[in-house]
Symmetry: C2
Subunit: 131 residues, 2 copies
Amino acid sequence: MTLKQSYGIGELAREFDVTTRTIRFYEDQGLLTPRRRGQTRIYSPADRIALKLILRGKRLGFSLAESGDLIRLYQPTGDNRQQLGALLEKIDEKRTQLRQQLVDIEIMQQDLDVAEERAKQALKELEESDV
Amino acid sequence: MTLKQSYGIGELAREFDVTTRTIRFYEDQGLLTPRRRGQTRIYSPADRIALKLILRGKRLGFSLAESGDLIRLYQPTGDNRQQLGALLEKIDEKRTQLRQQLVDIEIMQQDLDVAEERAKQALKELEESDV
DNA sequence: AGGCCACTTTACGTTAACGTAAACTTCCCC
DNA sequence: GGGGAAGTTTACGTTAACGTAAAGTGGCCT
């Protein structure tokens, strides 16, 4: 069995646990561009990938506009130097942001370690005063 | 010179590059609890730490409510077992979330690598067709 | 033919996280 | 004692990212 090459809106909604409203909204925002059969939307594997990217972006706190940028980073539009340069800059910015997030996550993880220790200690003290 | 032990609102605003409106809003949401001198707010080092945590949370896409949870993870309120248990659960949830974010970041970084390669390749081809 | 999905469009509603403006007090400076 | 500068309260405005409801279309089943 090879990969599917088209998807219905409900199908994608179920797979990624979002509503169809959400998927249509992303299209409104220019993030997805399904073709149509009659008036029904048909999604390509590329659309599915884009959706995946959007949701991953959301988990990292990216706005839809930012995820839109990311999607466009993949579409090598017959670009001129100007645009390719700007693109490389954007890539660099995103890299910087991701590195900052890595740092933030590390600190938070350490904070959680501390919080856990304290909670466990508090529990222990409750036990001991307990009879 | 030892650490300052109180801060003005403008001072914090400058340090973290947010507006005073934002800081007051966080207080409204119960995330900061400055004392007052007259009607002027005085922030403690703990408030400053909390603010730092909130902003770190924002960079990771946390809502203010979530950051509020995180702040409270540090305040070992004279808790009972119930609450300590719930607290330990929350810590675990956050850990899971942070791990997912780590995965997401890795994938994005790889995606950026690919995008960069393509852009550089496109540039190269422009050069070659250039004379 | 009737009924039930899954799909569609249109449009108004909602929440979070502040922005922005207005009107006021306090303190300090010259 | 007039005027900034920095603080305050109150309140309405704004944007992003959908939710929710209403009303219609198309296919398929029995």
